[in-house]
Amino acid sequence: MKKNNWKGWLYLLPAILFLGVFMVYPLVDVFIYSFEEGYNSSSQTFWGTGWYNYLYVLHDPYFIQALKNTFILVLITVPLSTLLALLISLGLSSIKKLRNMFQTIYFLPYVTNTLAVGLVFMILFQTTEYTDGMFNFVLSLFGIAPIDFIEGPYWAKMFVLCFYTVWVVLPFKILILTSALASVNKNYYNAALVDGTRPFRVFRKITLPMISPTVFYLIITGFIGAFKAYSDAVALFGTNLNVAEMNTIVGYIYDMLYGDGGGYPSYASAAAIILFVIVLTITCINLLISKKHVHY
């Protein structure tokens, strides 16, 4: 077996090279950056080490805004999208006709370019000089006055962002939940039927426990994904998210790194590490909760 020694390494070499340069090294480097105070990207010099970058980021009103936006987005879209996906999947699994068609339609957003469809959402929601847009037209049928959802009040913009986010993340969740529901052994349902169990009880006592690992998987990945929200916001409100008050943590990182306010990799690194710590904490909490509640 020793003969294979160097051969094995040869097979791994490309992966190790790429991961080393673009993952392991950056991982070390980002921590170094985050502690280098006053780093200048053109001269590549800094004047000290310490926690200054973290303090700066944590006191930056733009970061606070991004933090707030991200948390609101996460807290609204993760439960909402999971619940909606669950309802839709349950609906799908209880019908036979048109099921394939519905599944195909629901999956469409997954294969579309977030930026491109974001533009469509923008024109559906925005008001211009000549039209109030489709969504306002629908609202007017209920007697509600037009609102500019793209450049108007904060809550209106947040509403569109949440709506679009849910629209974008649902396909994946529906797909995963539908296949989880399909894999529940039919014998359980037949047994429940023989016992005369009522549908809601069947759901609560049989279906939900059986798919609970999947649900928790979706919640955990949902949290991680939502915390990294960025391109949805760009699609709707453009790249200047700080001005639109719609920036997210990831958006803040990129803005710090590059663009008009950019050139501060140290601040970006500190913000990235703060984001990582937040995501890690939330994930750990999720895992702890799921250990208690998942029935497997």
């Binding site: 991982l27 370019n113 039209t131 984001l275």
Partner: protein, 284 residues
């Protein structure tokens, strides 16, 4: 009897309610697509003349499509994206197949340690490493080049993990049988392992193609010359400067052109893609 009938009626009502609910959400999903196609066929004058948006058009026009190709280098964006997608996916596949094979079938000292490190890397979010990568690529003078676009995204720990698991399911006897026949490791990999694990490789390819076609953040960081823009960046440029924010029908025509390739691909390989995604995990 009365009981059964009312029971059946309740069931029918429930069915109708379910279909209404599913239909409503299907409408919500489809409407943006319908709207973008519809708008792309409305003339500029017709669109701006509608104070109340119309759900149909009686005079569809193609001028927006001509204008879209004319006013912005849309073909270049598409070509760039195609090159980027094919090259990234291709290199990624080679790297992934070799690494997975090394992990699954080779015996060498340190393998388990390296694999553990790989697994640990799976938890590292892209945001954490993108900063240094930006600096690395910039310092290497690879901004505004395909190399700079492609290289950082060719190694994926998750795909290696996925394929390695599949490779390990191939019975070791096949490997031994091939050894008895004098098959080289490389030949065994491409003649036996890869064909057997084709479903997983297809899955990985699909996921990567979708990811590449839609990728926005890294290209945005690393390119500012239009000649290297991918569709996402092109869209963003159009949105912010292109046709102004005025010519919405032309903008929608662009969006349609950009969305169509993936949607067509999806409609052709619907079953494979959906099975692949549900096996493969998360987006992005």
């Amino acid at each position: 009897m009365e009981d059964t009938r009312s029971h059946n009626r309740a069931k029918a009502v429930k069915k109708i309610f379910i279909y209404l609910f599913l239909g409503f959400w299907a409408l919500l999903v489809l409407f943006p697509f319908y709207w973008m196609i519809l708008t792309s066929f409305k003339s500029y004058g017709e669109y701006t003349g509608e104070v109340v948006p119309k759900l149909f058009t009686l005079a569809p026009v193609l001028e927006n499509y001509f204008f879209a190709f004319d006013a912005v280098p849309l073909l270049d964006y598409l070509a760039n994206t195609l090159v980027f997608t094919l090259a990234t996916t291709g290199i990624m596949l080679i790297v992934t197949v070799f690494a997975s094979y090394g992990f699954a079938k080779m015996e060498f000292r340190g393998k388990n340690l390296v694999f553990t490190i790989f697994l640990a890397l799976m938890m590292i979010p892209n945001e954490l490493v993108i900063i240094t990568n930006f600096v690395t690529v910039t310092n290497a003078g690879l901004r505004n080049s395909f190399m700079g676009l492609i290289l950082p995204s060719v190694a994926s720990v998750f795909y290696i993990y996925l394929l390695k698991e599949n490779f390990e399911q191939v019975p070791h006897e096949l490997y031994k049988a091939a050894k008895v026949d004098g098959t080289s490791d490389l030949k065994f990999l491409f003649k036996v392992m890869v064909p057997i694990c084709k479903p997983t490789i297809v899955t990985i390819t699909i996921l990567k193609v979708i990811e590449c076609w839609n990728s926005y953040v890294w290209p945005r960081l690393i390119t500012d010359e239009e000649a290297y823009f991918l569709v996402s960046n092109g869209i963003q440029a159009i949105r912010e400067s292109g046709f102004g924010r005025e010519n919405i029908p032309a903008m929608m025509a662009t969006v349609v052109i950009i969305s169509v390739p993936l949607i067509v691909l999806f409609l052709i390989f619907r079953k494979k893609i959906m099975a692949g995604v549900s096996r493969g995990g998360t987006k992005g």
